[in-house]
Symmetry: C2
Subunit: 408 residues, 2 copies
């Protein structure tokens, strides 16, 4: 009888935190993104506080204390992160600031954006150090829990300041890349020409970019045909989170591709949130539309085609990594088919998607288990002799290798 295979190392590369200084930043604001605290709870940092980060969260028809979502300690507490990791057997988490990062800094605050970003990144690095030290000094604590981090960029600052922060965070011991939204520099989008200096710095420093959505789609995308009514719009966050987020990522990456970015920066490495949105599924259609696009056809017989030089499949298999936050096997298998089993990485999206109502504080989160089960169902049976190895790679091995994580 063979012994059961060892439990694979579980690494969570999609897990967010709002460090204390960021909580302060949002608490000082009253427009999205902001934190609303009922006046009589000023002494309690989180009780009844609401986190209002999405434009769709800030519905004027609702009183503020019902907008957005409850801000509990899981959003900012490392102890909560530690308990979550222990609950789910996660050995290593690569934490990142959650949306909307520093995208919203404007006007006079933008001039201090480089300082705010540097302070935040230093704070994250210190938090990782404290977390990792904690484990080493506590007798009998679950061993091996470790944190790493993705840094945040001051995207509203001048380009040289953004580039400088990319270089600066390399010296931070726990930083393994940067998280970036689809808004690019001052909301100009990722395909904006000014981003080339950023891609250049990221390529030169071999910095991995964790590309994450926040903006979703304009309301007109959901309700906009003709006299479009908002029927079905009482479904809370479902449309903006289930569709808006992944479709935003899909559009951003496709525009980046069409703008020739991966031709100019063949070393660029992007980790796409939510397995690329819908890109693994739509890449064939992108490929076909590019091949059949008259605007790209040569103007003269035998002339050169315009448009992107590399195929989207080549980009998926050379420049792109995908997280495994897809909640089902059909998408997980498509992600692996598209990018390769060595380029898909487990994530939880903690602290988002907590259990509703029936959480006893002990059990595993359904949102996490949906992703674990998708991997196990797709590859856990070892059917083709490579299944178990692929599952193990997705659950943790790929992250260790790609992000250079230290297991000791």
């Amino acid at each position: 009888m063979s012994s059961p295979p060892p439990t694979p190392l579980l690494v969570d590369i999609h897990t967010h935190i709002y460090p204390p200084s960021y909580i302060s930043l949002l608490s000082a604001r009253s427009t999205v993104p902001y934190i609303h605290r009922p006046a009589d709870n000023d002494n309690d940092e989180t009780a009844d506080a609401r986190l209002i980060i999405l434009p769709s969260d800030d519905e004027p028809s609702k009183p503020r204390h019902q907008r957005g979502r409850p801000l509990d300690r899981s959003y900012s507490s490392l102890a909560a992160k530690r308990a979550f990791m222990a609950r789910h057997g996660i050995a290593i988490s690569v934490i990142s600031l959650a949306n909307p990062w520093l995208d919203f800094l404007v006007d006079d605050l933008a001039t201090s954006a480089p300082r705010i970003a540097a302070d935040l990144n230093d704070e994250l690095d210190r938090e990782c150090a404290a977390f990792n030290d904690h484990d080493r000094t506590l007798v009998g604590s679950p061993s091996g829990q470790k944190l790493y981090a993705f840094a945040t960029l001051p995207v509203t600052a001048a380009v040289p300041a953004v580039v400088a922060e990319i270089h600066r965070v390399r010296a931070l011991r726990h930083v393994r890349g940067v998280i970036l939204s689809t808004a690019g520099l001052r909301g100009a989008g990722l395909a904006d020409a000014r981003m080339d200096a950023v891609w250049d710095a990221l390529s030169e420093t071999q910095t991995l970019v964790f590309l994450h959505p926040h903006y979703g789609l304009p309301d007109a995308a959901y309700y906009g045909t003709g006299t479009g009514t908002a029927a079905g719009s009482d479904s809370g966050h479902v449309l903006p989170l289930a569709l808006g987020f992944p479709l935003e990522t899909t559009i951003a990456l496709t525009r980046l591709y069409l703008a020739g970015t991966f031709d100019r920066f063949p070393e660029l490495r992007l980790l796409l949130a939510h397995a690329g949105g819908a890109l693994p599924f739509l890449a064939g259609r992108v490929d076909s539309c590019v091949r059949h696009e008259r605007a790209f056809a040569p103007c003269t017989p035998g002339g050169q085609r315009s448009g992107p030089a590399r195929s989207i499949w080549d980009v998926l298999r050379s420049n792109v990594y995908l997280d495994a936050v897809v909640y089902a096997t059909p998408a997980l298998k498509a992600a692996v088919d598209a990018a390769g089993g060595d380029r898909v990485l487990f994530g939880t999206d903690h602290p988002f998607f907590p259990p509703i109502g029936d959480d006893d504080g002990q059990g595993k989160w359904e949102s996490v288990q949906m992703n674990v089960r998708a991997i196990e169902r797709a590859f856990g049976d070892g059917g083709d002799g490579h299944g178990l190895a692929t599952a193990s790679a997705i659950l943790g091995g790929n992250a260790v290798r790609i992000l250079g994580l230290d297991l000791d």
Copy 2:
């Protein structure tokens, strides 16, 4: 030695035509959708004519004779359809009016919409009959080529007229369902409450709905974050066709699902264009977001959840069929994983996506071959003993069974 398996029957359920009366309708217009003919070519029905159907086609910066796409005979000629079918070994095509159908009829024309739709549907049925008779009477013609059709609904007319046409087309010998856009009745969208009478009639008559995109996404979805520029917007139809179309379908179906339509109409049957857009990939995320949506949580402990009662997976496996127009294996396999190998149907999207430049009029179209190869690569090796049967079902068997096609 076993003999090679017989070539499977090839049935194309996604193939469009603009019959002569529809060409006349568009030719009489000068706003989208319309056909532009240079004045000196009035005597030639198609030479240099342009088909301008998408809002993005009608760029004021371009002269009209460069807008949209060339309108060649493949858009309206049954002889061209026959030649295309012969080229690719397609035995049966289920033709449908191409976008934007009759969605654009307004004002006084809307009062005649029922008549225009009825005439169009009768015309399509007659065209099928003539096509099928042709084969039977021509000695030495390729045998077995047959046409069926999806009918068009007068969606700008009063609801009873729409319902009446659903009932009327049942008497047309070649009609096997209706094609519908995401705009619903007078552009109010598919989740609009007035659609219930239409879903009811479609369910009662067991009429299959071929749901097809046309409107894509608003420009702001591509260029809208912050000061978003239109960098990469010189990529012709790539964004609206590669992303806009499938994302529109994904949104429409998800809104329909969230509005409880499949709870109220459990017998409804929808064939989704382009394999559901991105739904097979995003269904897990829709499922998770619905499960984790606070707006759906019961207001009292033990109370009832609101939101859709059935899971999106149940809908995919009971109410939905997917075409196989995805151009790559990862998406094709995800479509089969999501809906089942007995619910995915081959299509070509002819006459769209013709070869550019190098078509000799004899070879197979690359856009078609991409879809054939995706099926062969995913299932053609019979790896698990069911592969060849699945490939054969997708290529034609499913269409024959689901649409009740007569092979004689």
